[in-house]
């Protein structure tokens, strides 16, 4: 099953809609709650990152019987130093983003923690791609 979603930079009203939709689909497929949680927490922080740091993004979700593969691609400023960005506490978030309850520099580390396979690539000045692959069976 293939699902796509759009994310708009700066849009904190709709941020989370994709994660919510994916949660609904995985629930309907009777995936274990703990496994669903890992997927949607990772996707949600990635979705919020597009809203917080990029101009626009696309989310591609491929659900198979035993795994889910998610690719979040955005057009945006990109990340100069990914190793630095992955460090807990590092953040360039604006005051507005912090007022939304994010911007503590914990997102990327938590995405990684909740992913079985996690990849991030970025081209400064162009954009960022985050890939999350998780097993859906124990």
């Amino acid at each position: 099953m293939l699902q796509t979603y759009k994310v708009t930079g700066g849009d904190f009203v709709n941020a989370g809609k994709a994660s919510s939709s994916v949660k609904g689909i995985l629930k309907q497929l009777n995936v274990l709650a703990g496994l669903i949680k890992r997927v949607v927490v990772a996707l949600y922080e990635a979705e919020v990152n597009v809203a917080a740091h990029a101009y626009s993004g696309n989310i591609l979700v491929e659900i198979e019987s035993d795994q889910v593969r998610i690719r979040v691609t955005d057009s945006g400023p990109g990340i100069e130093d990914i190793q630095m960005a992955m460090k807990e506490g590092f953040s360039t978030a604006s005051k507005e983003v912090r007022e939304m309850g994010f911007g503590a520099g914990m997102g990327l580390a938590n995405i990684k923690k909740n992913s079985d396979t996690f990849n991030i690539t970025s081209v400064p000045g162009e954009g960022t791609t985050v890939e999350i692959i998780n097993k859906l069976t124990d």
Partner: protein, 114 residues
């Protein structure tokens, strides 16, 4: 502890309707930082927060949290209430501070998650 009992203890008002008010809550986590909330696992947990926006509801949804208390009498928008209802999350509003709500519920036997 039942949701209505929690609302009474903190002099709160249940804002959502049509949801199962009989659910049991045994633990609480207090935070205004949603990224922090998203790092933990929850069972029968209430999120106590001063953050009154849609992302607080989304965060609870992703975290499997079924009850949110909005502290400090923050204005809770109609859109928040509707999103909570469609996400099966009960919303309570209280005029008390985060510390006071946390203290009252701790005293009443609600456990910290760590």
């Amino acid at each position: 502890m039942k949701i209505q009992e929690i609302a009474n203890i903190i002099n709160g008002q249940v804002l959502t309707s049509g949801l199962d008010a009989g659910r049991e809550i045994s633990q609480a986590f207090s935070s205004d930082l949603m990224s922090d909330v998203l790092t933990r696992d929850y069972e029968d947990t209430v999120l106590i927060t001063g953050l009154a926006n849609l992302q607080a509801i989304r965060t609870a949804e992703m975290s499997d949290i079924g009850l949110i208390i909005i502290a400090r009498g923050k204005e809770v928008g109609e859109e928040m209430i509707r999103l909570a209802e469609s996400s099966d999350i009960v919303l309570i509003k209280s005029a008390y501070s985060l510390f006071r709500i946390s203290g009252l519920l701790y005293e009443a036997g609600i456990k910290p998650i760590f």
